[in-house]
């Protein structure tokens, strides 16, 4: 598989580690969140047959976490963003 790294260009997936559903970015704040919210965050993930947004880590590269939008039916990579930008766009900061 080839991941089009937004900064480095096409790179072999063997350089990466896959974590899974990008919803793992949306960690509830443990002080305010309910137990149920934390449970869903930790255990319930999207598993679509089709377009999937997932977290990849360029461990053997520039150590960026990426959000890869990829089809789980064809493996086509539709979009790749720096996870940090995605996280900020989703309102995460400090």
């Amino acid at each position: 598989m080839i991941i089009n790294h937004p900064l480095l260009g096409p790179r072999d997936s063997a350089e990466f580690v896959v974590l899974g559903d990008a919803c793992l970015i949306d960690r509830p704040d443990g002080m305010n969140a309910t137990f149920e919210e934390l449970h869903d965050y930790a255990y319930v993930r999207d598993n679509p047959a089709g377009e999937h947004r997932e977290l990849w880590y360029h461990e053997q590269g520039d150590r960026s976490w990426l959000v890869v939008t990829r089809s789980t039916l064809t493996h086509e990579v539709i979009k790749v963003d720096l996870a940090r930008d995605v996280a900020r766009a989703r309102g995460r900061s400090r």
Partner: protein, 967 residues
């Protein structure tokens, strides 16, 4: 024997005679021969035996589709089972033997199976061998396994080297036949970066086997000219002997290049290279494969695909027979008669199914002697050329699970709708079965791709040729036979088996394949599958479209496991990581142990010590008595800097870190988000905005990854930065009552007194007159102890200097075993306790979990089942009989309870012999362990034949109040 069947012409070098051995008999062939053509030249027709009935088998094809002529190539450790004689390039001294027979090839005892064939029909083994029950492993299966398999593995390590490799190109052209050559020429002229790969050792494909003309010259000559042009171009990489075996994601292709298989001796060079080819586009020009027709006894040696017959006559200068008969359902067969006629080989009959003529049976045991026709006539023939039509080689188009589509006009499956992205197909592989059209299609496909990739140059014009006649007909089998007719020559699947499969309800193509084993042999049914499907369709009274087809999976042709393995063998399977004191440790009698990729000194053997226990006891005692030094470089070290570094640590550790003062170290516990402990270590604050975290050796990479995740994905606007310094510092633990005294001789002007540099203090300093260093006062042994780090380049010098400075105290180096003894005595948890399944509460560290903050894992650590009152928790254990040695992995049972899972009370995690206490001590998890100190329980370890009583005690076997480490 002197190549009795050799005839004029062909692409062989008659100046270069090569000697080879077949079943122990030496014969000769020429440079340019394959083993198959050389065997035929020497009149060898019987070359093997089929899998199930052990029927005689000859050479059936001239390529990688060969189902029958499988041999054991080479000898000794280099033996290659199941090697297709049709793809083996002849070399001087080649040794080959036939396989899958008992006794001589000509008198195979296993041929008795053929007589029993009525009782060995499809799936017979599913219906018997069930009684008596015990007989399966003892009697039936050994019998079945005795006849399993074809070739034999040498039971010695593969003597050859293999390599992997990586190539990048704009266009990968698969197949160097007319379509592929034409495409590669066009693409290279436009300036694309091209790779052209072909499995053969001579480019040209069928052009070398036929008598066609291209651009007014012999097809083979045109191919040679095209090859010359491509070789001259620096944009083109022409790879012969290279099979593109798989289409993977995003334009990645797997290819196997056979570098030295055609040589007598590889001279240490890799035998094969497994290439990973990254292409922007790929053009499949893999041609087509001829198939057979089902008629009586259509499996005898001497019965050969018509295209192969032409290949042997035209390319290899070999007569496949003295009088050849032809049985065909298309124009191709007729061409065979012409070519043979042109070579002066007698053609005894041309039987054209389209005119209602058929072959119903063949005569001859070890090889065909004559055929019987539908009208009863007998025709003498020592070779029968059969053409049942051609099947496009669509294999790679299916590797993304696209299904081929049936094309009634060419009577074959052609590439279906969904091709792997970036792939297109040209020539016979695409169902374009005539020469001129093939060349044009290859050219145009390449030109189109070049344009679409933005290449500027002109592709030029395609070569000219004439379209030969091609009229295929859907004639599959001769009906109303009394004799068996073969579909799959290797697995002995006959038309009866296909019918029976349908009769028993195995009607989907997948069931047919799995029940009859059709197409599951080493040739993957390349000459058989379509015939089998057609017969299934006829049996079901359906069309072939309705019946459907199974799809092809990688690899296109079988690939040696060694090639996939590449260099990763023996000691080089994975890299070694060595600590800076490794060389010194070797010089000082260390035994090493794997810790992940690291090698660590396990103990240092001294003269006179009988076993490892002597060394370990000595090292551990000497640490407690005086002082010892241990290389702890392998612990993960992460430099953490930034204005928000403290805040960041406070969120990734379960215990509080916000207020850790500069110059102090703190023990930290890391949880996963699910509330389970996964790592621990110490983190030191060197400056307001700078920390150094240590992780366990095993989890260094994982922790770093998780920290980066938290930094980039969870809290992107914290100012915190990470970089690993694990390899950058050589770090040594100096432990024992005399550690302060020793270090005061090492560290430059730094007050080490307890007040100035107390327990859990740290400082940047220098040693031995100016070498930069870091000093941490931490203890894993419970003794007064420090860890001192210097830049790795000084590591070797440092250990020598430390030991020198330690001579005054009889300082000892100690290894990981003594380290383990000391930490178990002290009751420190490590990998055997922090298994990724244990909670802080179980580890007796529940008190550390902060309730006043949010950190990863805190919330979910509060779940019901993880906090049950009868939950496991860490305890210490000692044998009631102090002389007994404890066993790690023993399970605890209450005395008097039965030994079953319902009564399981926990398990022993770590044990060690404590020289300090003179007994074996252990740590373990026990239900309500904390409350049960003083109780006696069973430590039950049946796999170690041990069932003993142990006393539950505090995990802190030594210095429970921690006086020593603070002293």
């Amino acid at each position: 024997m002197t190549q009795a069947m050799r005839i004029e012409g062909g692409m062989i070098d008659r100046e270069r005679t090569l000697a080879f051995s077949w079943n122990g008999r030496w014969m000769t062939g020429y440079q340019g021969d394959t083993l198959a053509s050389a065997l035929l030249a020497n009149g060898e027709r019987l070359v093997g035996r089929s899998f199930k009935y052990h029927r005689p088998r000859g050479i059936f094809s001239s390529g990688s589709e060969e189902p029958s002529a499988l041999v054991q190539l080479r000898d000794g450790a280099a033996q290659e089972p199941n090697t297709r004689a049709t793809t083996v390039e002849l070399f001087d001294g080649l040794i080959a033997t036939s396989q899958n027979h008992r006794g001589p090839l000509a008198f195979d005892l296993m041929a008795v199976n053929d007589l029993l064939s009525p009782f060995l029909s499809a799936g017979f083994y599913y219906k018997t061998f069930m009684w008596p029950k015990a007989f399966w492993e003892r009697v039936y299966e050994p019998l079945i396994r005795a006849s399993a398999g074809l070739g034999r593995l040498p039971m010695q390590p593969d003597p050859d080297a293999y390599d992997h490799g990586f190539l990048h190109c704009d266009l990968l052209v698969v197949g160097a036949g007319p379509a592929g050559l034409s495409a590669a020429l066009a693409a290279s002229r436009t300036g694309l970066r091209v790779i052209l790969a072909d499995e053969d050792f001579v480019p040209g494909g069928r052009l070398n086997a036929e008598t066609h003309e291209v651009d007014g010259q012999a097809g083979a000559d045109w191919a040679a000219a095209a090859t010359a042009e491509l070789t001259a171009s620096d944009r083109v990489r022409l790879m012969t002997r290279t099979t593109v075996f798989g289409a993977f994601d995003h334009g990645t292709y797997g290819a196997l290049e056979r570098r030295t298989d055609h040589l007598a001796d590889a001279e240490g060079r890799p035998r094969q290279v497994l290439w990973r080819i990254y292409s922007r586009r790929a053009l499949l020009a893999a041609g087509a494969t001829e198939r057979s027709i089902a008629f009586g006894n259509n499996d005898r040696p001497g019965i050969m695909l018509a295209g192969a017959v032409r290949a042997y006559a035209n390319r290899f200068g070999v007569a496949p027979g003295r009088n050849v008969a032809v049985f065909t359902n298309n124009d191709d067969g007729l061409r065979t008669a012409e070519d043979l006629g042109g070579k002066g080989i007698e053609v005894s009959a041309v039987v054209d199914a389209r005119r209602g003529n058929v072959v119903v049976d063949t005569i001859g045991r070890g090889g065909i002697r004559a055929i019987r026709l539908g009208d009863g006539r007998r025709v003498e023939a020592d070779c029968l050329a059969v053409s049942g039509g051609w099947s496009p080689n669509v294999h790679l188009t299916c590797h993304h699970r696209g299904r081929p589509a049936w094309n009634a006009e060419i009577v074959g499956f052609v590439p279906g709708g969904e091709l792997p992205p970036g792939m297109c197909v040209a020539g016979a592989a695409n169902g374009t079965m005539t020469l001129a059209a093939t060349i044009r299609e290859g050219h145009e496909a390449a030109a189109g791709l070049a344009e679409d990739l933005g290449a500027k140059g002109s592709p030029g014009t395609p070569a000219k040729a004439v379209d030969e006649g091609f009229a295929a007909s859907p004639f599959w089998q001769v009906t109303g036979l009394r004799k068996r007719a073969w579909v799959d020559l290797q697995n002995d699947v006959t038309t009866k088996d296909v019918r029976q499969s349908h009769q028993e309800g195995f009607r989907s193509v997948e069931h047919l394949k799995r029940y009859t084993t059709l197409g599951m042999a080493t040739d993957q049914g390349r000459t058989a599958n379509v015939l089998g499907l057609a017969l299934m369709a006829e049996a079901a009274g359906k069309s072939i479209e309705e019946t459907g087809t199974t799809i092809f999976r990688p690899p296109y042709t079988p690939v040696a496991i060694g090639a996939f393995g590449g260099r990763a063998r023996g000691r080089h399977f994975r890299p070694f990581r060595l600590t800076p004191s490794h060389k010194w440790a070797e010089e000082n009698g260390a035994d090493f142990v794997e810790a992940g990729m690291w090698l660590r000194a396990q103990w240092f053997r001294q003269p006179g010590e009988k076993g490892w226990r002597d060394s370990v006891d000595r090292e551990a005692s000497q640490v407690r008595r005086s002082v010892g030094v241990c290389d702890v470089t392998t612990l993960g070290k992460i430099d953490i800097q930034g204005r928000d570094a403290a805040e960041f640590l406070n969120r990734v550790y379960a215990n509080a870190f916000l207020k850790l003062p500069v110059g102090k170290v703190r023990y930290g516990l890391m949880l996963r988000e699910d509330g389970i402990c996964y790592d621990d270590g110490t983190t030191a604050r060197l400056a307001e905005t700078r920390f150094v975290m240590t992780t366990t050796t095993a989890n260094a990479v994982l922790v770093f990854r998780n920290l980066e995740f938290a930094r980039q994905c969870l809290w992107p606007d914290l100012d915190v930065h990470l970089i690993s310094t694990t390899d950058g510092w050589a770090q040594f633990a100096v432990a024992g009552p005399n550690s302060r005294a020793l270090l005061s001789k090492v560290v430059d002007d730094l007050d080490l007194s307890n007040d100035a540099f107390p327990f859990m203090a740290c400082a940047e300093c220098s040693v031995f007159g100016g070498t930069p260093a870091r000093l941490f006062r931490i203890s894993f042994s419970g003794e007064l102890a420090y860890e001192i780090a210097v830049p790795a380049r000084y590591g070797d010098s440092m250990i020598r200097a430390l030991m020198k400075a330690g001579e005054a105290f009889d300082a000892v180096p100690y290894g990981t075993e003594a380290l383990g003894v000391l930490r178990i005595e002290k009751g420190h948890v490590a990998g055997n306790e922090i298994t990724g399944q244990t909670t802080a509460r179980m580890l007796g560290l529940g008190g550390m979990l902060s309730r006043s903050k949010d950190a990863i894992g805190l919330k979910l650590s509060g779940r019901e089942a993880m906090n049950a009152d009868d939950g496991m928790c860490l305890a210490g254990f000692r044998p009631v009989d102090r002389s007994v040695i404890l066993t790690a992995g023993a399970h605890f049972l209450n005395t008097g309870d039965p030994a079953d899972m319902a009564h399981d009370q926990g398990w022993m995690t770590s044990v060690a012999y404590s020289p300090e206490l003179g007994t074996s001590v252990g740590l373990g998890f026990l239900k309500r362990g904390k409350e049960r100190i003083g109780e006696t329980v069973r430590a039950y370890s049946p796999v170690r034949d041990q069932d003993i009583l142990v006393e539950v005690c505090s995990p802190h076997h030594v210095d429970p109040d921690g006086v020593r480490q603070r002293g």
